[in-house]
Symmetry: C2
Subunit: 353 residues, 2 copies
C-alpha cells in the first residue's frame, strides 16, 4: 500500500463512547443545561476525536499551502499570478495576515510550496518554508486536466508528510495561497455538492460582474472538457483541483488518521476537505469548520460536510486566517470540558424539576 | 455634579479622524480589499474609541456583577434564588464558566456583589469579590418599583467606581449573575425598543411553555404597574431593572468616558447597555457586542444599539462568558491594524484596475 492508501485505511469515525463520557460531564457542569451551546458540542467532538476527556490542545500548527493555477490565464482573478510567490515571501517574513492572527492563536505557521510558478528555493534553503513542489503551477483546467492522477496522489501525500513532520501538534489548522484558486475550488464544490456552478461561484478577491460571468463560464468549460467523476475524489482533484488543494486534503486525511482535530479555514480549504471526505467519508469527523466566508458556495459545501462553521466574520482572505481565529474557541471548549466544576463539586443547587 | 453626571458629561462619540487614519492603513494592507471583514471594522472602532492607531488591548478585565431580584418570587426562573450566591462563590473559587473562559482570553475577572440576597461578606473580606451592595435583592417589580431612583443612581455609580479602580485596564468586558434577571432585562428591552414583551421574551435558564406565558404576564404587569418613562433611563432602571444591571450600565458609561472599548456580553449586559445608551447615546460607540444569545429579544436589542454581534454560538449563560470568548477577536483586530504589512512595505503587486 502507498502512503495515501495506508492513511485512508487508518481513518475511523469519532468514538461514540468517548463522546458519551464527555457528554456525561458536560451535562453536570454548573450552568443551565448546555448553556455554552456550540462550545459544548465542540467539546464532545474533541473527546470523540482524541478518545479522551482531557483532549490536548496546547500545541497548534496552521499549515498554509501555496500553489499556482494554470487557469489564471483565463483572467478569473483580479490579481496577477506573481502575487502567489510574493505572498509566500510575506508569510516567510512574518507580516501577512496569517502570521499576525496565528500570534493570537498561539499557533505555529508552517508554509509549504506545493507548486508555485516562481522559484521559492531560497526560502526553502533558509528553512523558512517547506518545498513539496509538484510542478510550477497546474495546467489550465479549462483546456484539459489540471494535473495527472499521479500528481494528485503526490499532492495529497505531501500533505500527509507535513502532518507526519508535525507529529507533536495537538490541533491543526489549514490555509491556502494561490491566485485564482477560488476557481478550481468552485469546480470541486459543484461536482461534490451537485449544485450548479452559477449558484456557488463568487467574486474571490473582488472581481466585477463581467469577470464573474466569465469565471462561471470557465468553470463550466473545465467540467465539460474534463468530465470528472464525482464519485472519485482523486479524479476530481486531478482534473479541476490544485496542488495546494491536494496538499490540504492530505492534511485533513492525516489529521483524521492520527485522531487530531483539524480546523478547516475558508472556501479553498473546505473544497480540500470535500476531496478528503470523498476519499474517506469519516475524515469529516475530524474537521472543524472554522468560519463561513463571503463566497456564496461555502454554505452548501459546509452542508455537504455536515458542518456548521464557528465564525461568520465576512472573511475572504484564506491563508488559514479563519482557522487561526477559531483556535481560541477550541481551547475554550477544551477548558469547559476539563476545568469547570459540576453542581456536586461546587455545591450549587440544581434546577426545579 | 455627582459622579454619574460627571461621567455622562465626559462621553463623546468615537473620533472620526482616528477612524479615518486607521482606514487609510487598513486599505493598504497586503490582502484583497477589506478581506478580513468584520475584524477590520472592529479595528476602525478601536482607533475611533482610543484615539490611536496603536490601540492598547493587552490588559483585559471582565467585570461580573451579581444581584438578586424580588420578582423571582413570581416563579419566573427554573432555579432557586439561592443559586445567585452559590454561583458567586463558584466565581470566587475559580471553577465557573467565566473563570475558565477568562483564561482563554487572558483576562482578569472582577466579581462584584451589587446586591445578592444572602451575605457574601466573607468573600469580600477575603478580597475575592468587591462588595457594592445596594440592598439584599430588588423589590418585586410586578408589584411596584424594583428599587428607588436613588438606588438606581448608586448602582450605576458603583459600576463607574469599579472601572475607576481598574484604571490600568485596556479592554473591559461585562458579565452578570442573578437568578430571574432575564425578566427585568426583557422589560427593559420592551421599553427601550418599543416592541411587545411577547416578541422579546425567552426561556432564560430553560423554563417550559407554561412558565414562559407566566413570565410574559409578569413582565407586562411590571410595566403596567410601574409605567416607566422610556425616555428616562434612570426611571426604567429603577422601576423594572436590577442592581447588577445598573452596575453594568455604569461599567459601559465609565468605559466610554475613559475611551476604552467594552465588550458587552449577553442578554442582561445588553439590557444594561441600552440603559447606558438612554442616559448617554454616544456610550454605544464604545460598546462592542460580543455575541448573540438564544434569547429571542437579543437581536432587537442589538438593532437598537446599532450593533452586529461578533459571535453566534448559541450561548445563554451570561457571567461574561461571551465577552471572554470575543476578547481574542479584539486582540486580532488590533494586531491586523498594527502588525500587518502594506503592499508597498512587502513589495506585493496590487490588483488590476
Amino acid at each position: 500500500m502507498n502512503l495515501l492508501q495506508t492513511t485512508l485505511s487508518q481513518i475511523t469515525p469519532q468514538d461514540a463512547a468517548w463522546r458519551a463520557k464527555a457528554k456525561q460531564r458536560l451535562d453536570s457542569l454548573i450552568m443551565p443545561h448546555w448553556a455554552l451551546g456550540r462550545l459544548m458540542d465542540l467539546a464532545m467532538d474533541l473527546a470523540g476525536i482524541t478518545r479522551s476527556v482531557q483532549p490536548a490542545v496546547a500545541r497548534r500548527t496552521i499549515v498554509t499551502m501555496a500553489g499556482d493555477h494554470g487557469v489564471a490565464e483565463e483572467g478569473v482573478s483580479k490579481y496577477p499570478q506573481e502575487v502567489t510567490a510574493q505572498m509566500v515571501r510575506g508569510f516567510a517574513g512574518g507580516s501577512a495576515g496569517i502570521n499576525v492572527l496565528a500570534r493570537v492563536a498561539d499557533a505555529e505557521v508552517v508554509v509549504v510550496d506545493m507548486g508555485v510558478k516562481a522559484s521559492l528555493d531560497d526560502l526553502a534553503r533558509q528553512g523558512k518554508i517547506f518545498s513539496m513542489r509538484i510542478g510550477p503551477g497546474t495546467q489550465n483546467m479549462a483546456r484539459g486536466p489540471a494535473m495527472t492522477r499521479d500528481q494528485a496522489i503526490r499532492a495529497i501525500e505531501s500533505g500527509i508528510e507535513i502532518v507526519r513532520a508535525s507529529a507533536r501538534t495537538d490541533v491543526f489548522g489549514t490555509g491556502d495561497m494561490g491566485i485564482a484558486n477560488t476557481t478550481p475550488s468552485t469546480a470541486i464544490a459543484a461536482l461534490l455538492t451537485g449544485l450548479p456552478v452559477s449558484s456557488l461561484c463568487g467574486r474571490g478577491t473582488g472581481i466585477d460582474d463581467e469577470q464573474l460571468r466569465k469565471k462561471v463560464d470557465v468553470i463550466e468549460r473545465a467540467i465539460a472538457v474534463n468530465q470528472p467523476d464525482p464519485a472519485d475524489g482523486l479524479d476530481v482533484l486531478a482534473k479541476v483541483g490544485g496542488f495546494e488543494i491536494g496538499g490540504i486534503a492530505g492534511v485533513v486525511l492525516a489529521a483524521a488518521a492520527r485522531r487530531k482535530p483539524v480546523l478547516v479555514d475558508g472556501f479553498i480549504s473546505t473544497a480540500a476537505a470535500l476531496i478528503a471526505q470523498a476519499l474517506a467519508p469519516a475524515s469529516a469527523d475530524y474537521a472543524i469548520a472554522a468560519h463561513r466566508s463571503v463566497e456564496p458556495g461555502h454554505r452548501a459545501m459546509h452542508e455537504r460536510l455536515g458542518k456548521e462553521p464557528l465564525l461568520d466574520l465576512h472573511l475572504r482572505l484564506g491563508e488559514g486566517t479563519g482557522a487561526a481565529l477559531a483556535m481560541p474557541l477550541v481551547e475554550a471548549a477544551q477548558r469547559v470540558l476539563t476545568e469547570m466544576a459540576t453542581f456536586d463539586e461546587a455545591h450549587v443547587s440544581k434546577a426545579h424539576e
